[in-house]
Protein backbone atom coordinates (compact mmCIF):
# COMPACT_ATOMS: atom_id res chain seq x y z
CA UNK A 1 0.00 0.00 0.00
CA UNK A 2 2.71 2.48 0.94
CA UNK A 3 4.74 1.42 -2.09
CA UNK A 4 1.82 2.34 -4.27
CA UNK A 5 1.67 5.80 -2.71
CA UNK A 6 5.39 6.32 -3.11
CA UNK A 7 4.92 5.58 -6.81
CA UNK A 8 2.04 8.05 -7.12
CA UNK A 9 3.89 10.78 -5.23
CA UNK A 10 6.91 10.23 -7.49
CA UNK A 11 4.86 10.52 -10.68
CA UNK A 12 3.27 13.70 -9.33
CA UNK A 13 6.68 15.16 -8.46
CA UNK A 14 8.11 14.55 -11.95
CA UNK A 15 5.02 16.07 -13.58
CA UNK A 16 5.39 19.06 -11.24
CA UNK A 17 8.99 19.43 -12.44
CA UNK A 18 7.84 19.33 -16.07
CA UNK A 19 4.96 21.78 -15.66
CA UNK A 20 5.93 24.30 -12.96
CA UNK A 21 8.18 26.45 -15.21
CA UNK A 22 5.53 26.49 -17.96
CA UNK A 23 2.75 27.46 -15.54
CA UNK A 24 4.90 30.18 -13.97
CA UNK A 25 5.63 31.59 -17.42
CA UNK A 26 1.94 31.73 -18.32
CA UNK A 27 1.01 33.33 -14.98
CA UNK A 28 3.72 35.97 -15.36
CA UNK A 29 2.53 36.84 -18.83
CA UNK A 30 -0.54 38.36 -17.08
CA UNK A 31 1.44 40.10 -14.32
CA UNK A 32 1.19 43.90 -14.31
CA UNK A 33 4.68 44.41 -12.85
CA UNK A 34 7.44 44.78 -15.38
CA UNK A 35 10.48 44.01 -13.26
CA UNK A 36 9.31 42.45 -10.03
CA UNK A 37 8.84 38.77 -9.32
CA UNK A 38 5.87 39.76 -7.12
CA UNK A 39 2.35 39.61 -8.42
CA UNK A 40 1.07 43.19 -8.72
CA UNK A 41 -2.15 42.65 -10.62
CA UNK A 42 -3.72 41.20 -13.74
CA UNK A 43 -3.05 42.79 -17.12
CA UNK A 44 -3.35 42.01 -20.80
CA UNK A 45 -0.96 44.85 -21.64
CA UNK A 46 1.90 42.56 -22.73
CA UNK A 47 -0.33 40.80 -25.22
CA UNK A 48 -1.41 44.20 -26.49
CA UNK A 49 2.19 45.18 -27.01
CA UNK A 50 2.80 42.11 -29.13
CA UNK A 51 -0.04 43.11 -31.42
CA UNK A 52 1.62 46.49 -31.94
CA UNK A 53 5.03 45.02 -32.78
CA UNK A 54 5.19 45.04 -36.60
CA UNK A 55 8.45 43.08 -36.92
CA UNK A 56 7.16 40.39 -34.62
CA UNK A 57 3.86 40.07 -36.46
CA UNK A 58 5.72 39.73 -39.73
CA UNK A 59 7.95 36.99 -38.29
CA UNK A 60 4.87 35.21 -36.93
CA UNK A 61 3.20 35.44 -40.34
CA UNK A 62 6.30 34.02 -42.03
CA UNK A 63 6.42 31.14 -39.54
CA UNK A 64 2.76 30.32 -40.09
CA UNK A 65 3.15 30.24 -43.87
CA UNK A 66 6.26 28.05 -43.69
CA UNK A 67 4.59 25.69 -41.20
CA UNK A 68 1.38 25.41 -43.24
CA UNK A 69 3.22 24.63 -46.48
CA UNK A 70 5.88 22.39 -44.92
CA UNK A 71 3.37 20.40 -42.87
CA UNK A 72 1.11 19.89 -45.90
CA UNK A 73 3.95 18.81 -48.20
CA UNK A 74 5.45 16.54 -45.53
CA UNK A 75 2.07 14.92 -44.89
CA UNK A 76 1.34 14.29 -48.58
CA UNK A 77 4.82 12.93 -49.16
CA UNK A 78 4.79 10.97 -45.87
CA UNK A 79 1.42 9.38 -46.65
CA UNK A 80 2.60 8.28 -50.09
CA UNK A 81 5.84 7.00 -48.55
CA UNK A 82 3.96 5.04 -45.90
CA UNK A 83 1.76 3.47 -48.62
CA UNK A 84 4.82 2.58 -50.69
CA UNK A 85 6.64 1.03 -47.73
CA UNK A 86 3.55 -0.84 -46.61
CA UNK A 87 2.24 -2.10 -49.97
CA UNK A 88 5.22 -2.58 -52.24
CA UNK A 89 8.46 -4.54 -52.23
CA UNK A 90 10.98 -2.48 -54.17
CA UNK A 91 14.70 -2.05 -54.48
CA UNK A 92 15.95 0.31 -51.78
CA UNK A 93 12.86 -0.20 -49.59
CA UNK A 94 15.00 -1.12 -46.59
CA UNK A 95 17.17 1.91 -47.21
CA UNK A 96 14.19 4.27 -47.42
CA UNK A 97 12.65 2.84 -44.26
CA UNK A 98 15.97 2.83 -42.41
CA UNK A 99 16.74 6.35 -43.60
CA UNK A 100 13.45 7.65 -42.22
CA UNK A 101 14.07 6.06 -38.81
CA UNK A 102 17.64 7.39 -38.71
CA UNK A 103 16.27 10.89 -39.47
CA UNK A 104 14.16 10.77 -36.30
CA UNK A 105 17.26 10.32 -34.12
CA UNK A 106 19.62 12.42 -36.20
CA UNK A 107 20.77 15.49 -34.19
CA UNK A 108 19.13 18.69 -35.46
CA UNK A 109 22.42 20.51 -35.73
CA UNK A 110 23.85 17.87 -38.08
CA UNK A 111 20.75 18.20 -40.26
CA UNK A 112 20.90 22.00 -40.15
CA UNK A 113 24.46 22.29 -41.37
CA UNK A 114 23.99 19.57 -43.98
CA UNK A 115 21.17 21.67 -45.50
CA UNK A 116 23.33 24.79 -45.30
CA UNK A 117 26.15 23.05 -47.17
CA UNK A 118 23.69 21.74 -49.79
CA UNK A 119 22.01 25.10 -50.42
CA UNK A 120 25.31 26.95 -50.62
CA UNK A 121 26.73 24.27 -52.93
CA UNK A 122 23.87 24.65 -55.42
CA UNK A 123 23.84 28.44 -55.01
CA UNK A 124 20.32 28.70 -53.61
CA UNK A 125 19.67 31.93 -51.68
CA UNK A 126 18.70 31.27 -48.06
CA UNK A 127 15.15 32.25 -47.13
CA UNK A 128 11.59 31.07 -47.61
CA UNK A 129 12.24 28.24 -50.09
CA UNK A 130 15.21 26.76 -48.23
CA UNK A 131 13.24 26.86 -44.96
CA UNK A 132 10.31 24.99 -46.50
CA UNK A 133 12.58 22.34 -48.04
CA UNK A 134 14.41 21.82 -44.75
CA UNK A 135 11.24 21.71 -42.67
CA UNK A 136 9.57 19.20 -45.00
CA UNK A 137 12.60 16.94 -44.57
CA UNK A 138 12.61 16.87 -40.77
CA UNK A 139 8.79 16.54 -40.57
CA UNK A 140 8.70 13.74 -43.16
CA UNK A 141 9.74 10.81 -40.92
CA UNK A 142 7.16 11.73 -38.26
CA UNK A 143 4.35 12.00 -40.80
CA UNK A 144 5.39 8.71 -42.44
CA UNK A 145 5.72 6.78 -39.19
CA UNK A 146 2.35 8.03 -37.89
CA UNK A 147 0.58 6.82 -41.05
CA UNK A 148 2.62 3.60 -41.24
CA UNK A 149 1.64 2.67 -37.68
CA UNK A 150 -2.02 2.99 -38.66
CA UNK A 151 -1.60 0.97 -41.88
CA UNK A 152 -0.02 -1.90 -39.95
CA UNK A 153 -3.06 -2.10 -37.71
CA UNK A 154 -5.78 -3.00 -40.20
CA UNK A 155 -6.99 -6.00 -42.14
CA UNK A 156 -5.05 -6.68 -45.36
CA UNK A 157 -8.01 -8.67 -46.73
CA UNK A 158 -9.80 -5.41 -47.46
CA UNK A 159 -7.24 -4.56 -50.10
CA UNK A 160 -7.23 -8.10 -51.51
CA UNK A 161 -11.00 -8.05 -51.78
CA UNK A 162 -10.88 -4.74 -53.65
CA UNK A 163 -8.24 -6.11 -56.02
CA UNK A 164 -10.36 -9.19 -56.72
CA UNK A 165 -13.21 -6.85 -57.58
CA UNK A 166 -11.00 -5.15 -60.14
CA UNK A 167 -9.89 -1.98 -58.33
CA UNK A 168 -6.68 -0.42 -59.63
CA UNK A 169 -3.96 1.12 -57.44
CA UNK A 170 -5.19 4.73 -57.44
CA UNK A 171 -8.71 3.52 -56.59
CA UNK A 172 -7.43 1.33 -53.75
CA UNK A 173 -5.49 4.32 -52.46
CA UNK A 174 -8.40 6.73 -52.70
CA UNK A 175 -11.30 4.50 -51.68
CA UNK A 176 -9.74 2.17 -49.10
CA UNK A 177 -6.37 3.17 -47.75
CA UNK A 178 -6.89 6.92 -47.50
CA UNK A 179 -10.19 6.78 -45.54
CA UNK A 180 -8.63 4.22 -43.19
CA UNK A 181 -5.56 6.31 -42.45
CA UNK A 182 -7.35 9.68 -42.35
CA UNK A 183 -6.99 10.18 -38.55
CA UNK A 184 -3.28 9.34 -38.78
CA UNK A 185 -2.85 11.74 -41.71
CA UNK A 186 -4.47 14.51 -39.67
CA UNK A 187 -2.30 13.68 -36.64
CA UNK A 188 0.80 13.62 -38.85
CA UNK A 189 -0.09 17.05 -40.21
CA UNK A 190 -0.67 18.54 -36.76
CA UNK A 191 2.60 17.16 -35.40
CA UNK A 192 4.50 18.35 -38.48
CA UNK A 193 3.00 21.81 -38.08
CA UNK A 194 4.08 21.87 -34.44
CA UNK A 195 7.61 20.73 -35.29
CA UNK A 196 7.91 23.34 -38.02
CA UNK A 197 6.61 26.31 -36.07
CA UNK A 198 8.83 25.51 -33.03
CA UNK A 199 12.06 24.71 -34.83
CA UNK A 200 15.13 26.71 -33.87
CA UNK A 201 18.14 24.54 -34.65
CA UNK A 202 17.62 23.75 -38.32
CA UNK A 203 16.07 27.13 -39.22
CA UNK A 204 18.99 28.91 -37.56
CA UNK A 205 21.24 27.73 -40.41
CA UNK A 206 18.92 27.90 -43.41
CA UNK A 207 17.07 31.20 -43.22
CA UNK A 208 18.36 34.41 -44.71
CA UNK A 209 18.55 37.93 -43.27
CA UNK A 210 15.46 39.02 -45.21
CA UNK A 211 13.20 36.30 -43.86
CA UNK A 212 12.71 36.39 -40.10
CA UNK A 213 10.70 33.65 -38.34
CA UNK A 214 9.14 33.52 -34.89
CA UNK A 215 11.38 31.02 -33.03
CA UNK A 216 14.55 32.83 -34.15
CA UNK A 217 13.00 36.17 -33.17
CA UNK A 218 12.18 34.69 -29.73
CA UNK A 219 15.71 33.32 -29.49
CA UNK A 220 17.26 36.74 -29.97
CA UNK A 221 14.78 38.30 -27.51
CA UNK A 222 15.45 35.62 -24.89
CA UNK A 223 19.19 36.20 -25.08
CA UNK A 224 18.54 39.74 -23.86
CA UNK A 225 16.82 38.41 -20.73
CA UNK A 226 13.38 37.91 -19.22
CA UNK A 227 10.79 40.39 -20.44
CA UNK A 228 7.02 40.33 -20.02
CA UNK A 229 6.41 40.65 -23.77
CA UNK A 230 8.43 37.48 -24.30
CA UNK A 231 6.35 35.75 -21.62
CA UNK A 232 3.18 36.65 -23.52
CA UNK A 233 4.62 35.51 -26.85
CA UNK A 234 5.81 32.20 -25.39
CA UNK A 235 2.41 31.69 -23.72
CA UNK A 236 0.69 32.03 -27.10
CA UNK A 237 3.08 29.52 -28.67
CA UNK A 238 2.51 27.12 -25.77
CA UNK A 239 -1.27 27.37 -26.17
CA UNK A 240 -0.92 26.63 -29.89
CA UNK A 241 1.27 23.56 -29.31
CA UNK A 242 -0.95 22.23 -26.53
CA UNK A 243 -4.01 22.48 -28.76
CA UNK A 244 -2.31 20.81 -31.72
CA UNK A 245 -0.93 17.91 -29.66
CA UNK A 246 -4.23 17.44 -27.84
CA UNK A 247 -6.16 17.21 -31.11
CA UNK A 248 -3.58 14.83 -32.60
CA UNK A 249 -3.85 12.69 -29.47
CA UNK A 250 -7.65 12.64 -29.58
CA UNK A 251 -7.91 11.66 -33.25
CA UNK A 252 -5.37 8.83 -32.96
CA UNK A 253 -6.87 7.61 -29.68
CA UNK A 254 -10.23 7.08 -31.31
CA UNK A 255 -8.90 4.14 -33.28
CA UNK A 256 -7.74 2.19 -30.21
CA UNK A 257 -11.21 2.43 -28.74
CA UNK A 258 -13.02 1.19 -31.83
Amino acid sequence: MTRRWVGRAYVAAVLLFLYTPILVLVVYSFNASRFSTDWTGFTLAWYGRLAANQALLEAAGNSLIVALIAATLATVLGTLAAMAIHRYRFRGRGLVKGGLYVLTVSPDIVMGISFLVLFVAVGMPLGFTTLVLGHVTFCLPFATITVLARLKGFDAHLVEAAQDLGADEPTIFRKILLPLVRPAVLAGWLLSFTLSIDDVMVSFFITGPGFDILPLRIYSMVRLGVRPEVNALCAILLALTFTMVLVAWLVTRERTQK
Binding site: G7, Y10, V11, V14, L15, F17, L18, Y19, T20, P21, I22, V24, L25, T37, D38, L77, L80, A81, A84, R87, Y88, V96, G99, L100, V102, L103, V105, S106, P107, D108, I109, V110, I113, S114, F115, L116, V117, L118, V120, L133, T144, E169, P170, F173, D198, V200, M201, F205, P215, I218, V222, V226, N231, C234, L237, L238, T241, F242, V245, R253
Partner: protein, 284 residues
Amino acid sequence: MTDTGWFKTLAIGLITAWLTVFVAVPNLLVLGASFCARDEARLLAPIFTLDNYLRFFNPVYFAVFARSMALAMITTALCLLVGYPFAYSVARGGWAHKNLLLLLVIIPFWTSSLVRTYALMILLKANGLINTALFDIGLIQAPLRMMYTDAAVVVGLTYSLLPFMILPVYASLEKLDGRLLEAARDLGAGPVTVFWRITVPLTLPGMVAGIMLTFLPALGMFYIADILGGARSLLVGNLIRNQFLTSRDWPLGSATSMALTLIMAAMLLVYSRSAKALSREADL
Protein backbone atom coordinates in the same frame (compact mmCIF):
# COMPACT_ATOMS: atom_id res chain seq x y z
CA MET B 1 -0.86 -3.36 -64.56
CA THR B 2 0.63 -0.80 -66.92
CA ASP B 3 -2.05 1.85 -66.47
CA THR B 4 -1.98 1.47 -62.67
CA GLY B 5 1.79 1.18 -62.42
CA TRP B 6 2.22 4.96 -62.47
CA PHE B 7 0.88 5.29 -58.94
CA LYS B 8 3.40 2.86 -57.54
CA THR B 9 6.20 4.55 -59.48
CA LEU B 10 5.10 7.97 -58.25
CA ALA B 11 4.93 6.94 -54.57
CA ILE B 12 8.27 5.14 -54.59
CA GLY B 13 9.96 7.68 -56.83
CA LEU B 14 8.99 10.72 -54.76
CA ILE B 15 10.20 9.45 -51.40
CA THR B 16 13.39 7.96 -52.85
CA ALA B 17 14.19 11.18 -54.68
CA TRP B 18 13.45 13.38 -51.65
CA LEU B 19 15.63 11.33 -49.31
CA THR B 20 18.43 11.24 -51.88
CA VAL B 21 18.44 14.99 -52.52
CA PHE B 22 17.83 16.22 -48.96
CA VAL B 23 19.44 13.53 -46.81
CA ALA B 24 22.01 11.47 -48.70
CA VAL B 25 23.54 14.22 -50.85
CA PRO B 26 23.84 16.86 -48.07
CA ASN B 27 25.49 14.40 -45.72
CA LEU B 28 27.91 13.28 -48.42
CA LEU B 29 28.73 16.93 -49.06
CA VAL B 30 29.49 17.43 -45.35
CA LEU B 31 31.64 14.28 -45.40
CA GLY B 32 33.49 15.64 -48.44
CA ALA B 33 33.90 19.09 -46.87
CA SER B 34 35.41 17.53 -43.76
CA PHE B 35 38.36 16.31 -45.88
CA CYS B 36 38.88 19.66 -47.63
CA ALA B 37 41.25 22.47 -46.77
CA ARG B 38 40.04 25.84 -45.57
CA ASP B 39 39.86 28.69 -48.07
CA GLU B 40 39.12 32.30 -47.11
CA ALA B 41 37.41 33.28 -50.34
CA ARG B 42 35.56 30.15 -51.44
CA LEU B 43 35.03 28.56 -47.96
CA LEU B 44 36.57 25.30 -49.18
CA ALA B 45 39.64 24.38 -51.17
CA PRO B 46 39.35 21.01 -52.92
CA ILE B 47 42.58 19.64 -51.50
CA PHE B 48 42.41 16.32 -49.66
CA THR B 49 43.56 16.58 -46.05
CA LEU B 50 43.07 14.83 -42.71
CA ASP B 51 43.94 18.02 -40.86
CA ASN B 52 40.41 18.76 -39.70
CA TYR B 53 40.19 15.47 -37.85
CA LEU B 54 43.70 15.82 -36.44
CA ARG B 55 42.73 19.24 -35.08
CA PHE B 56 40.39 17.52 -32.61
CA PHE B 57 43.55 16.68 -30.68
CA ASN B 58 44.40 20.34 -30.30
CA PRO B 59 44.20 20.70 -26.48
CA VAL B 60 41.75 23.64 -26.53
CA TYR B 61 39.38 21.96 -28.96
CA PHE B 62 39.68 18.61 -27.22
CA ALA B 63 38.89 20.17 -23.83
CA VAL B 64 35.62 21.64 -25.12
CA PHE B 65 34.71 18.34 -26.74
CA ALA B 66 35.45 16.37 -23.59
CA ARG B 67 33.50 18.78 -21.40
CA SER B 68 30.49 18.69 -23.69
CA MET B 69 30.60 14.86 -23.63
CA ALA B 70 30.71 14.95 -19.82
CA LEU B 71 27.74 17.33 -19.62
CA ALA B 72 25.79 15.17 -22.08
CA MET B 73 26.59 12.00 -20.10
CA ILE B 74 25.45 13.58 -16.82
CA THR B 75 22.27 14.79 -18.54
CA THR B 76 21.58 11.34 -19.98
CA ALA B 77 22.22 9.64 -16.63
CA LEU B 78 19.86 12.08 -14.89
CA CYS B 79 17.16 11.52 -17.52
CA LEU B 80 17.47 7.74 -17.09
CA LEU B 81 17.49 7.91 -13.28
CA VAL B 82 14.45 10.20 -13.17
CA GLY B 83 12.67 8.88 -16.26
CA TYR B 84 12.88 5.10 -15.79
CA PRO B 85 11.11 4.98 -12.39
CA PHE B 86 8.56 7.45 -13.73
CA ALA B 87 7.85 5.34 -16.82
CA TYR B 88 7.73 2.24 -14.63
CA SER B 89 5.20 3.76 -12.22
CA VAL B 90 3.02 4.95 -15.08
CA ALA B 91 3.18 1.66 -17.01
CA ARG B 92 2.76 -0.74 -14.10
CA GLY B 93 1.24 1.33 -11.30
CA GLY B 94 -2.35 0.36 -11.97
CA TRP B 95 -3.53 3.86 -12.86
CA ALA B 96 -7.11 4.46 -13.88
CA HIS B 97 -6.15 7.16 -16.38
CA LYS B 98 -2.83 5.93 -17.71
CA ASN B 99 -3.43 7.51 -21.14
CA LEU B 100 -3.90 10.93 -19.59
CA LEU B 101 -0.59 10.64 -17.70
CA LEU B 102 1.07 9.66 -20.93
CA LEU B 103 -0.43 12.69 -22.66
CA LEU B 104 1.14 14.87 -19.95
CA VAL B 105 4.54 13.57 -21.11
CA ILE B 106 3.71 13.74 -24.82
CA ILE B 107 2.82 17.45 -24.60
CA PRO B 108 6.27 18.63 -23.42
CA PHE B 109 7.82 16.17 -25.91
CA TRP B 110 6.35 18.26 -28.75
CA THR B 111 6.64 21.67 -27.07
CA SER B 112 9.36 24.06 -28.19
CA SER B 113 12.40 23.47 -26.00
CA LEU B 114 13.42 27.09 -26.54
CA VAL B 115 10.21 28.22 -24.85
CA ARG B 116 10.69 25.64 -22.09
CA THR B 117 14.29 26.74 -21.55
CA TYR B 118 13.16 30.34 -21.29
CA ALA B 119 10.51 29.28 -18.74
CA LEU B 120 13.25 27.65 -16.68
CA MET B 121 15.24 30.88 -16.82
CA ILE B 122 12.37 32.73 -15.09
CA LEU B 123 12.81 30.36 -12.14
CA LEU B 124 16.60 30.29 -12.06
CA LYS B 125 17.63 33.92 -12.57
CA ALA B 126 19.10 35.98 -9.71
CA ASN B 127 15.82 37.76 -8.91
CA GLY B 128 13.77 34.79 -10.11
CA LEU B 129 11.13 32.77 -8.36
CA ILE B 130 13.41 30.26 -6.60
CA ASN B 131 15.70 32.91 -5.13
CA THR B 132 12.78 35.11 -4.09
CA ALA B 133 11.01 32.19 -2.41
CA LEU B 134 14.15 31.03 -0.57
CA PHE B 135 14.83 34.60 0.54
CA ASP B 136 11.26 35.13 1.76
CA ILE B 137 11.30 32.05 3.96
CA GLY B 138 14.69 33.10 5.30
CA LEU B 139 16.80 30.25 3.96
CA ILE B 140 19.22 32.54 2.15
CA GLN B 141 20.41 36.09 2.69
CA ALA B 142 21.84 36.71 -0.78
CA PRO B 143 20.54 35.30 -4.05
CA LEU B 144 22.06 31.99 -5.16
CA ARG B 145 23.90 32.16 -8.43
CA MET B 146 22.19 29.53 -10.53
CA MET B 147 22.24 31.01 -14.03
CA TYR B 148 25.36 30.90 -16.21
CA THR B 149 26.74 27.75 -14.59
CA ASP B 150 27.36 24.23 -15.88
CA ALA B 151 24.72 23.03 -13.43
CA ALA B 152 22.14 25.32 -15.06
CA VAL B 153 23.03 23.88 -18.48
CA VAL B 154 22.62 20.32 -17.18
CA VAL B 155 19.29 21.19 -15.54
CA GLY B 156 18.14 22.88 -18.75
CA LEU B 157 19.14 19.93 -20.93
CA THR B 158 17.54 17.46 -18.53
CA TYR B 159 14.36 19.53 -18.39
CA SER B 160 14.14 19.66 -22.18
CA LEU B 161 15.10 16.04 -22.85
CA LEU B 162 13.37 14.10 -20.05
CA PRO B 163 10.27 13.30 -22.19
CA PHE B 164 12.58 11.86 -24.87
CA MET B 165 13.81 9.29 -22.32
CA ILE B 166 10.43 8.57 -20.74
CA LEU B 167 8.50 7.78 -23.94
CA PRO B 168 10.71 5.02 -25.43
CA VAL B 169 11.28 3.45 -22.01
CA TYR B 170 7.54 3.55 -21.37
CA ALA B 171 6.86 1.86 -24.72
CA SER B 172 9.21 -1.01 -23.88
CA LEU B 173 7.75 -1.40 -20.36
CA GLU B 174 4.27 -1.45 -21.85
CA LYS B 175 5.26 -4.36 -24.14
CA LEU B 176 6.76 -6.28 -21.23
CA ASP B 177 4.83 -9.52 -20.66
CA GLY B 178 3.55 -9.48 -17.06
CA ARG B 179 3.44 -13.28 -17.01
CA LEU B 180 7.24 -13.44 -17.15
CA LEU B 181 7.43 -11.39 -13.95
CA GLU B 182 4.80 -13.59 -12.30
CA ALA B 183 6.64 -16.75 -13.34
CA ALA B 184 9.87 -15.43 -11.86
CA ARG B 185 8.12 -14.56 -8.61
CA ASP B 186 6.46 -17.98 -8.46
CA LEU B 187 9.88 -19.55 -8.83
CA GLY B 188 10.99 -17.66 -5.74
CA ALA B 189 12.79 -14.60 -7.14
CA GLY B 190 12.65 -11.50 -4.95
CA PRO B 191 11.60 -8.11 -6.36
CA VAL B 192 15.22 -6.96 -6.81
CA THR B 193 16.15 -10.11 -8.74
CA VAL B 194 13.03 -9.86 -10.90
CA PHE B 195 13.84 -6.26 -11.73
CA TRP B 196 17.51 -6.76 -12.62
CA ARG B 197 17.24 -10.18 -14.28
CA ILE B 198 13.97 -9.72 -16.19
CA THR B 199 12.65 -6.17 -16.37
CA VAL B 200 15.96 -4.45 -17.14
CA PRO B 201 17.14 -6.84 -19.90
CA LEU B 202 13.72 -6.83 -21.57
CA THR B 203 13.48 -3.03 -21.57
CA LEU B 204 17.08 -2.54 -22.71
CA PRO B 205 16.16 -1.55 -26.31
CA GLY B 206 13.83 1.12 -24.91
CA MET B 207 16.60 2.41 -22.68
CA VAL B 208 19.12 2.48 -25.52
CA ALA B 209 16.59 4.39 -27.68
CA GLY B 210 16.04 6.84 -24.82
CA ILE B 211 19.78 7.27 -24.29
CA MET B 212 20.22 7.98 -27.99
CA LEU B 213 17.39 10.55 -28.01
CA THR B 214 18.85 12.41 -25.01
CA PHE B 215 22.61 12.06 -25.45
CA LEU B 216 22.83 13.25 -29.08
CA PRO B 217 20.70 16.42 -28.61
CA ALA B 218 22.52 17.10 -25.31
CA LEU B 219 25.70 17.47 -27.36
CA GLY B 220 24.08 19.72 -29.92
CA MET B 221 21.51 22.06 -28.34
CA PHE B 222 23.61 25.20 -28.51
CA TYR B 223 20.84 27.57 -27.53
CA ILE B 224 20.44 26.00 -24.10
CA ALA B 225 24.14 26.61 -23.44
CA ASP B 226 23.75 30.17 -24.78
CA ILE B 227 20.75 31.01 -22.62
CA LEU B 228 21.57 29.25 -19.36
CA GLY B 229 25.33 28.91 -19.53
CA GLY B 230 26.42 32.29 -20.79
CA ALA B 231 29.30 32.38 -23.22
CA ARG B 232 31.66 30.16 -21.26
CA SER B 233 29.83 26.92 -21.42
CA LEU B 234 30.41 25.51 -24.88
CA LEU B 235 28.76 22.41 -26.24
CA VAL B 236 29.80 20.55 -29.38
CA GLY B 237 26.76 22.25 -30.91
CA ASN B 238 28.23 25.69 -30.13
CA LEU B 239 31.54 24.60 -31.69
CA ILE B 240 29.85 23.55 -34.91
CA ARG B 241 27.73 26.69 -35.09
CA ASN B 242 30.74 28.93 -34.49
CA GLN B 243 32.81 27.17 -37.16
CA PHE B 244 30.04 27.64 -39.71
CA LEU B 245 28.76 31.10 -38.87
CA THR B 246 31.49 32.97 -36.97
CA SER B 247 34.98 31.72 -37.81
CA ARG B 248 33.84 30.50 -41.23
CA ASP B 249 35.94 27.35 -40.96
CA TRP B 250 33.61 24.98 -42.79
CA PRO B 251 36.01 22.01 -43.02
CA LEU B 252 36.54 21.94 -39.25
CA GLY B 253 32.81 22.44 -38.64
CA SER B 254 32.04 19.57 -41.05
CA ALA B 255 34.54 17.27 -39.33
CA THR B 256 33.00 18.11 -35.94
CA SER B 257 29.55 17.37 -37.32
CA MET B 258 30.84 14.07 -38.74
CA ALA B 259 31.98 13.17 -35.21
CA LEU B 260 28.36 13.53 -34.05
CA THR B 261 27.20 11.41 -36.99
CA LEU B 262 29.72 8.71 -36.03
CA ILE B 263 28.54 8.72 -32.40
CA MET B 264 24.99 8.34 -33.71
CA ALA B 265 26.01 5.43 -35.95
CA ALA B 266 27.69 3.67 -33.03
CA MET B 267 24.58 4.12 -30.87
CA LEU B 268 22.31 2.86 -33.66
CA LEU B 269 24.48 -0.25 -33.89
CA VAL B 270 24.12 -0.89 -30.15
CA TYR B 271 20.38 -0.35 -30.47
CA SER B 272 19.90 -2.79 -33.33
CA ARG B 273 22.09 -5.38 -31.55
CA SER B 274 20.07 -5.10 -28.34
CA ALA B 275 16.75 -5.27 -30.19
CA LYS B 276 17.92 -8.29 -32.20
CA ALA B 277 19.29 -10.10 -29.16
CA LEU B 278 15.94 -9.60 -27.49
CA SER B 279 13.88 -10.93 -30.38
CA ARG B 280 16.19 -13.95 -30.65
CA GLU B 281 15.65 -14.75 -26.98
CA ALA B 282 11.93 -14.27 -27.35
CA ASP B 283 11.92 -16.83 -30.18
CA LEU B 284 13.46 -19.52 -28.00
